[in-house]
Point group: C2
Chain length 248, copies 2
């Protein structure tokens, strides 16, 4: 490939994930969306609801990746510290967005509390990202998107991210797979030959337990479809009679 | 509480998780087990199958936590680099374990390949952890446990970890919850009062969408049950008539 793919990292914020009370549901959704956009998700970190920890992590991740996505901690309560932490990471203040405040007042009307208005706070310099379909804003500061932790709201806002990043869309990743009954120990020598010959294709090997139809799934991933197919076919050509069980 | 809880971190290794091809399934299982052991899971990191990245991460995490658990990358193929990376993190060599080699030869018999025997490699100085029930060893180097990525095998080996860590078992965490129809904006002022009065209780607030029975779940967590119950009850006492919907 001519250019390396853009890179991304996800920072999940939430004591509830680390304590096992809630199962994280946003990572796989965002991982698949990034893959389709041709963006390489290189790192995921899950941390507690702590301003210093989040700020340090955002500062690091945003320097080392093209895009960073935080998930969680954007509500109005005491455990929602992501806005403050992201502001700190970039060395900016937290300010009230007049635009957000107007939206919140219009939405909550006479029920509107100081608690609700806390959701108008943004890191100074942040952009409020919307699309025609998703009018409630998603906060972005430079390369860092502040996504909500609630899975339903995360999914609702994801099209905004996709629309924005699709503008810079690179070649998407192609993935092919081969299923065999051989185990990884038997496959190693064959795989090593394919890996050596196709440095630009990422070859994965995943044992499956308790499936009668195959024992190992081999995946071939890359952004050049011709090379991906050539690697897959080179591997299949090395297999003994009776294999593979299935090709995708 | 007299002593702070022991801390833990999980390092998940796997391109397949980051590419969205496979949904991670070990984190919630280990998170719940650690919670029951009274161990605070403070950080989770997911990285690609890259020796340098994994080694750097293990070196950091093992310095900053009492226990570290890696998940994935312990099979025999080219993408299984965790053993090498953990050895590198602790500055030791990779050596063949005669004990593991004997077990592998006994298991695979005449089918045993060099690929299979690669699974006898361990970081020098590693302990092979077993229990009466789980005889296939789990590799531990100092405070770092090398767990398999395959969820079925991970679950199979988890009792070994639990048995070993239960010996040092601290006071487990206690968790209570209150469900209300108020939203977070309305709750903020009340919550702030409880948070200020109970510094030793961790108070969480989780909005729920699309549930007709409540709008926000409040959690009260700590290792001193008396204080957790007192915090919960102090919060309930502040609620207006008609609340809460449910107490746990």
């Amino acid at each position: 490939m001519s250019t390396p793919p853009a890179t991304a990292a996800i920072l999940v914020i939430g004591d509830e994930i680390l304590s096992g009370k809630v199962e994280e549901a946003n990572i796989p959704v965002l991982a698949r969306a990034l893959r389709q956009l041709g963006i390489l998700l290189r790192r995921v970190v899950v941390v507690m609801d702590d301003v210093e920890t989040i700020a340090r992590e955002v500062a690091l991740l945003s320097r080392e990746h093209d895009w960073v996505f935080t998930s969680g901690g954007v509500g109005p309560t005491h455990d929602d510290v992501t806005i403050e932490a992201v502001a700190k990471a970039f060395g900016v203040r937290v300010v009230a967005s007049p635009e957000m405040e107007a939206m919140l007042r219009a939405h909550y009307r006479e029920r509107c509390t100081d608690g609700h208005l806390r959701m108008a706070l943004v890191p100074e310099g942040a952009t409020l990202e919307v699309t025609e379909e998703v009018r409630w804003p998603t906060i972005r500061l430079r390369n860092t998107w502040l996504m909500p932790g609630i899975p339903e709201v995360f999914r609702m806002k994801l099209p905004v991210v996709v629309a924005r990043l699709a503008a810079a869309k690179a070649t998407p990743f192609v993935s092919r797979a081969v299923y065999v009954k051989m185990d990884e120990g038997e496959l190693k020598a064959l795989l090593d030959r394919v890996v050596a010959a196709f440095a630009d294709v990422s070859v994965g090997s995943y044992p499956k337990w308790l499936d009668p139809t195959y024992r190992t799934k081999l995946t071939f991933d890359g952004r050049d479809e011709t090379r991906v197919l050539a690697a897959r076919d080179a591997f299949v050509a090395l297999l003994p009679p009776g294999e593979p069980q299935r090709i995708e």
